[in-house]
């Protein structure tokens, strides 16, 4: 596609991998995508509320102590979520990298489940245990959902640490904590901080979790944007808040960009730890293993368990009836589809989203990996839509694209487009280290042997990247499948996606509909986690590192 065509042109002019001349068109594809999904909607929002903004009402409404407090607590919960995720995730990553203990594989395997599950499903699972909404519930779920980001990022970095360094330190009499502090920590510090910033970002802009798990007085900037735009219909106020959020997010993204990959030596991603793993020694290590391991496992199993319990409760007793009704057609806005039929819609959307995501992510990764200034711009630009307010994005999308030729208001492409925006940055972060690790000598060797541009590209670029591109494709699919936040603001005709149907079913007054929603949540959890486990076997650390 674009990448291939661009790369071919690049190969003719030749620069290392023949990607040189392709960088500009590749960057153009990416930036056009960001303009379409993020900048356009944001500009439309500002344009639409310009009268309200001129009147100064928004500032009057917002210039209160309350707004300051909302901003303050949003920062505080995001910082707390990030800090806790950083500590737990780093500990879990270290245990995984260095130690051998029962359940080691399980901890790693389940860690991604909370991240890929729709946030409404996670939150409903926690609520099912009788947990009332509160700040601590919100932070706990933010940590649970995002700890995998730290684990994978730090894990990848730890894998690249020469085990002999650690062995040398311990043989010189350092305790394992001492060796970690003096040898490994300095090497993984930046990676851990960068990952923590990503967690901060996700927690700062999280919507579904806050909506379901807040109790009295719990609110965030993101939720205020939703309330102002959706419930109070004060678009100007929402726009000011949304712009403020974009500024914060842009700042954090810039900071994260400086940290990410800074201390990763070229080719690090392909290094596997050569040192053997040992059983935990001493009470300290055992405590760390048990605490971090059980935290990660609980993060996945508590919400899932809640869902299962809730889905099995039938009236006063227990049973599988809600699972049976997954096959019944649901009438009304949900068209004529049965809940399981919604899997068809979700699959279709996610497949289209995957195509879009890969068409953007592959050229974007090439730019990020090879271009200096351009790479930095593209890398940061891709993060913006991910962290924009979902409500603002929804209304902005609606306002921006309601006239032909770009009438996307209720186009079947709208949902896949939005799903793709969430997947692209994840795929890019997966591909970039592999592109950086490509060996230029292969291209040179091919050239010496008289291979043409296309063949050189195939030998030196396409073949080594084949697997990771396949993995990225699956990752994009899984993320698209589970996306709920932004797509819930797009209108839909006929068939809803699975996460949308879960939200719809649980808003109906019938206990049966709620039970069915929970059963559907369990099925999504199983499917998504299963897909992800497959992906994980192939890629180890790759997915979810930032």
């Amino acid at each position: 596609m674009t990448a291939v065509a661009g790369a071919r042109r690049g190969a003719a002019t030749g620069r290392r991998f023949g990607l040189g001349a392709a960088l500009v068109p590749c960057a153009a594809v990416t930036l056009a995508f960001v303009a379409l999904v993020a900048v356009g909607p944001q500009v439309a929002l500002v344009a639409r509320s310009i009268d309200g903004l001129r009147s100064g009402r928004a500032l009057d409404v917002l210039a209160t102590a309350r707004t300051l407090r909302v901003v303050g607590v949003t920062f505080a919960q995001a910082a707390a979520s990030a800090a806790i995720a950083m500590v737990v995730g780093t500990a879990a990553a270290w245990c995984h990298a260095r130690l051998r203990f029962p359940g080691r594989g399980l901890v790693w395997a389940v860690s991604a489940a909370p991240f890929v599950l729709p946030s409404v499903v996670m939150a409903a699972g926690v609520r099912a245990w009788g947990v009332e909404g509160s700040w601590s519930a919100v932070v706990a779920v933010h940590v649970a959902m995002n700890v995998v980001v730290v684990m994978r990022t730090v894990g990848a970095r730890l894998a690249a640490v020469d085990p002999h360094l650690v062995e040398a330190a311990t043989s010189l009499g350092r305790s394992s904590w001492g060796a970690f502090r003096d040898v490994e920590l300095p090497l993984v510090r930046t990676a851990a901080a960068g990952a923590a910033l990503v967690v901060f970002l996700f927690s700062f802009t999280s919507f579904g979790v806050v909506m379901v798990l807040r109790g009295r007085g719990v609110t965030t900037v993101e939720l205020e944007i939703w309330i102002e735009s959706v419930r109070r219909l004060r678009l100007d106020v929402a726009t000011v808040l949304a712009l403020g959020q974009v500024v914060v997010v842009a700042g954090v993204v810039a900071l994260q960009h400086r940290l990410s990959g800074r201390d990763v030596p070229s080719g690090a991603a392909s290094i596997r730890p050569s040192g053997g793993r040992r059983p935990p020694q001493g009470p300290g290590e055992k405590v760390v293993v048990v605490l971090s391991g059980s935290a990660v496992v609980a993060a996945a199993l508590v919400p899932l368990g809640g869902l299962v319990v809730r889905s099995l409760r039938v009236g006063e007793g227990w049973g599988l009836r809600h699972y049976a009704s997954l096959l019944d057609p649901v009438t009304g806005t949900t068209g004529v589809t049965s809940p399981l039929g919604a899997f068809g819609a979700s699959t279709r959307n996610a497949l289209v989203a995957t195509l879009i995501a890969m068409a953007v992510a592959v050229p974007a990764s090439a730019v990020v990996a090879r271009g200096r200034r351009l790479g930095a711009i593209v890398d940061q630009a891709l993060f913006l839509p991910l962290a924009m307010s979902a409500a603002a994005l929804g209304f902005g999308f609606f306002l921006a694209y309601r006239h032909p030729p770009l009438d996307l208001r209720s186009s079947p492409l709208a949902i896949p487009l939005v799903e793709a925006t969430i997947a692209v940055p994840l795929v890019v972060r997966l591909l970039v280290p592999r592109i950086r690790a490509l060996d230029p000598r292969q291209a040179e060797a091919a050239a010496v042997l008289g291979a043409g541009g296309w063949r050189r590209f195939r030998v030196a670029v396409a073949r080594p990247l084949r697997d990771v591109v396949a993995t990225g494709t699956v990752l994009a699919f899984v993320v698209g499948f589970g996306e709920f936040g932004a797509t819930s603001f797009l209108a839909r005709s006929s068939t809803p996606t699975v996460p949308q149907l879960i939200a719809t079913l649980s808003s109906r007054p019938s206990p049966d509909a709620f039970g069915t929603a929970m059963a559907l949540g369990v099925v999504v959890a199983v499917v998504v986690t299963g897909l992800f486990a497959l992906l994980d076997r192939r890629e180890g650390h790759g997915a979810f590192r930032f």
Partner: protein, 348 residues
């Protein structure tokens, strides 16, 4: 090579799926063909299946539903698109949003087809047409109070009585429709003293959930939670025993009639509708005897049409006071933001 083959297969399959998909997912209001009327609404709304089918058979017009997750979001989009609407007919403006809808230029004026409607359910501006009523009440888990040997509360004042401390869950009025109706009801009942009442609710341990389904399905004792009082609907008790395989034969819950507040849902023709005739026909159908009679089963609401036969569960278990608290849409529209701010100041 195998993997590449697999990728190619995925791409081909996708293209096919997309192609198939576009056959049955028409592109919304943008290209409205004759023979199709687009109903814009919120996603919790369920079209009464048989009545909708009968409409299509009689008129040859297909009903396409375009839904957004929240009723407020759906209305917000309709107002933003005023004059160039996404569809033809809008359903789902409730009493608390009424003046915002009628004050915009998104709707054409329509007159109710049902005669003898009580004034209490009409749109004073004469723009929108009432379709159904959903009375918001504090619901009581009868069985919980029986087991404890405590008399359930009966008045607003009881809810702030220390005897009932920590028993009530309501919804945040900023994010939830029944929560907002409850808030407006307290103002309607207590006037200027309402904020003081909210403070007493807070001191008496009220839980404020984000949305109705959290409050009702997670916190209410009937559904496994730990609060026996919840702000919900008059139709919630019959909902317990409805459906093909109801949980129980007799509802565990009932309502505190003194708190019951009328909430009406309206429909209106969108200005600039491409299929205006279809919109008129659908609006008329929604007021017809058959459609109105199907509403309790499909949406757990009461028809506005007088004399419509209700399902047995509604007849037996839906308690509706003869004179529920009546909100003034004008007053709610004018003071909504102010009340919300006060409520949030009080609740912290």
């Amino acid at each position: 090579m195998k993997r590449i083959a697999a990728l190619v297969a995925v791409v081909l399959a996708t293209t096919t799926l997309v192609a198939c998909g576009s056959d049955d997912s028409p592109s919304g209001g943008a290209s409205a063909r004759a023979g199709k009327v687009v109903l814009v609404t919120y996603s919790g709304y369920e079209l009464p299946k048989d009545a909708a089918k009968a409409f299509t058979e009689e008129t040859g017009t297909k009903i396409e539903v375009l839904a957004t997750d929240d009723a407020g979001a759906a209305l917000g989009r309709a107002i933003l698109a005023a004059g160039d609407p996404e569809g033809d007919l809008f359903f789902g403006v409730d009493t608390t949003f009424l003046t915002q809808a009628t004050g915009s230029d998104a709707f054409e004026r329509s007159t109710p087809a049902i005669r003898d409607l009580p004034e209490a359910v009409l749109d004073p501006s004469g723009t929108l047409v009432p379709i159904d009523e959903s009375t918001v009440c504090v619901n009581v888990d009868r069985t919980w109070f029986e087991a404890k040997g405590v008399a359930p509360p009966t008045t607003f004042e009881d809810l702030v009585d220390p005897r009932y401390k920590g028993l009530l869950v309501t919804e945040d009025p900023a994010t939830s429709s029944p929560g907002l109706v409850f808030l407006a009801a307290t103002v309607q009942q207590m006037g200027d003293r309402a904020p003081d009442y909210w403070a007493r609710l807070r001191d008496n341990g009220v839980e404020v959930a984000g949305g109705w389904s959290d409050a009702y399905f997670s916190s209410f004792t009937v559904n496994g939670g730990d609060r026996p009082l919840v702000v919900s609907y008059a139709s919630s008790p019959p909902a317990e025993v409805m459906g093909s395989d109801a949980a129980r034969a007799t509802p565990k819950s009932t309502v505190m009639t003194s708190t019951c507040t009328r909430q009406v849902e309206f429909a209106g023709i969108l200005r600039g509708a491409k299929n205006r005739k279809g919109a008129e026909r659908l609006l008329a159908a929604m007021q017809s005897e058959d459609w109105q009679a199907a509403l309790p089963a499909s949406n757990y609401v009461f028809p506005v049409r007088p004399g419509v036969r209700l399902p047995e569960a509604f007849e037996r278990f839906a308690v509706r006071p003869a004179d529920p608290i009546q909100l003034d849409p004008e007053q709610v529209g004018r003071h909504r933001d102010e009340w919300l701010d006060r409520w949030r100041d009080v609740m912290g």
